[in-house]
């Protein structure tokens, strides 16, 4: 059923009893042309674009829990394309373009809200570095704008733009086309649209191993039995290493936990996304009024989907430097998600040494914004057994050839990216 104002009105008069299931819940078939492991945004988007762009619809998405229950449903939903290096810039910019039309394309309200993403600068060195990145963005055809301290004080009245903080704000790099989206809706919207094109979404189905014949995977061993597969793509976020390990691949990845937390709901006070530059902290306000906040990861590898208090404290301290007005606001919830941090800070969307086994992972802090483009190019890579123009550089081999994509220039340490 198409969602529209008319279907809404019709259902309103029918007591909302006539809505059908957003996606089908089929029993797994014996064999699929493509099996996608991981029902987060990336796996679901991949399945959708396989069916829509490449006509491959005999596809299953296998999810060990419920769809969107991983990082897709745990993240702070910041969407942006303010990267410096070309390989990332063009990829994330394509993603941002897809975000701007996603709700219409999926016929599902993903609540994408281009409210702008503002990175604050607190030192002259940082300001120069932001100029450099902003100019690189402009040269790549991506919007970037420098805001002075006065501009920012007018734009975000509650932000402390005075000389009082330990690290006063000098200005900031703004990307107006960036913003936020509703994370669950992204998983559900892709699931519904993929299901309508014939993709089977199979929840509570954990992949536990792969059956091989020579250098090919022929079937997936799951908690719901063996499922034959022509090709296999994995998009399992923090579990990339484990699942790739089932076919003997070792990855340049460490699994780390990243936390997020929300305040009690407040009246509207912040209509953009703002990030602190003298530490690591970012904040936006949800439609329900909660302040959605995040900071650093916990700095040591972890598969626990919960965070530790020191990082929380540090993030909150940074937040209070920016917004002293929040000193008596209460926290409502905090949680964590396990992310695969690559050793150069950029994702891997690529073929692997195994013929029909494809890898989508290494999303670090920032894979939510990548969801549409990630699905787009991963579907292309699987369908054509060759990368798309936009993920040509995001290979596994780059770590051997020296073509790493280190946007921050941080070096080969997972937690520095």
């Amino acid at each position: 059923m198409r969602y529209s104002i008319f279907s809404l009105v019709r259902q309103a008069f029918a007591g909302h009893r006539g809505w059908d299931e957003a996606w089908r819940t089929p029993e797994p078939k014996k064999q699929y042309d493509v099996v996608i492991v991981g029902g987060g945004g990336h796996g679901l988007a991949t399945a959708y674009y396989l069916a829509k762009n490449h006509g491959v619809s005999n596809v299953a998405v296998l999810e060990k829990g419920y769809i969107g229950g991983g990082n897709t449903g745990r993240n702070t939903t910041i969407v942006r394309s303010n990267y410096m290096l070309d390989d990332n810039a063009h990829f994330y910019e394509w993603s941002l373009k897809l975000w701007h039309q996603l709700s219409t394309d999926l016929n599902y309200n993903t609540m994408f809200s281009p409210r702008g993403v503002l990175n604050l600068a607190h030192t002259e060195g940082q300001r120069d570095q932001y100029f450099r990145r902003g100019n690189r963005m402009l040269l790549n055809g991506i919007d970037a704008e420098w805001m002075t301290r006065e501009d920012i004080a007018r734009f975000i009245p509650h932000l402390d733009c005075s000389d009082n903080p330990r690290f006063p704000i000098l200005g900031g790099l703004m990307q107006r086309r960036g913003g936020t989206a509703r994370h669950d809706a992204v998983a559900w919207g892709y699931a519904r649209a993929a299901s309508a094109l014939g993709v089977d979404i199979i929840q509570n189905c954990e992949v536990q191993g792969f059956a091989r014949e020579g250098n090919r995977v022929v079937a997936v061993e799951t908690s719901r039995g063996r499922i034959g597969a022509g090709k296999v793509g994995i998009a399992v976020a923090g579990n990339s290493g484990r699942v790739a390990g089932m076919v003997g691949l070792k990855l340049p990845i460490e699994t780390h936990v990243l936390q997020a937390f929300v305040s009690e709901p407040l009246k509207p006070m912040l209509d953009t996304v703002v990030t602190y530059g003298a530490g690591h902290f970012y904040m936006s306000q949800s439609d329900k009024g909660e302040l959605v906040m995040g900071g650093d990861l916990d700095f040591y590898p972890s598969y626990a989907q919960k965070g530790n208090i020191p990082i929380l404290e540090e993030a909150v301290a940074a937040g209070l430097q920016m917004f002293p007005i929040l000193s008596r606001v209460r926290m409502m919830r905090h949680w964590g998600g396990v992310m695969d941090m690559t050793l150069d800070g950029s994702p891997i969307i690529a073929k692997t040494p195994i013929d029909n086994f494809y890898l989508n992972g290494g999303w670090c802090y920032g894979g939510f914004k990548a969801t549409p483009a990630s699905g787009w190019v991963f579907a292309h890579t699987i369908a054509h057994d060759a990368p798309h123009e936009l993920n040509r550089a995001h290979t596994l081999e780059r770590f051997e050839t020296g073509h790493v994509i280190d946007d921050k220039g941080a070096g080969p340490v997972a937690q520095w990216h």
Binding site: L251, Y300, F399
Partner: protein, 93 residues
């Protein structure tokens, strides 16, 4: 909050320490002799287990000395602490 027993100072809170990555990754004896693949293995590939991991920590806001920790990556339980140069203890079942 982890409580980590520095071999020299005793048990302190996690905020006094910094994480130093997977332990027992020795710098290659002769880096020039390595192939690109071997170099990538050394520089970028990590064990990343869901379970016990041997890793390096440094007591940065204390004695500033390095040591090794064996820690569970799900429960965060610390199962062993030993000094640099000491052999890792046998794995508990």
């Amino acid at each position: 909050m982890l409580r980590i027993g520095c071999p020299w100072c005793g048990e302190r809170e996690e905020i006094e320490f910094s994480y130093g990555g997977q332990a027992h990754l020795a710098y290659p004896q002769d880096p020039h002799a390595l192939t690109d693949e071997q170099w990538a293995q050394y520089l970028f590939m990590r064990d990343n287990p869901k379970g016990l991991l041997r890793e390096r920590w440094v007591h940065s806001h204390g004695c500033r000395r390095w040591f090794n920790v064996e820690r569970h990556t799900v429960t965060h339980e610390i199962t062993a602490i030993y000094k640099p140069g000491e052999p890792p203890p046998a794995r508990r079942a």
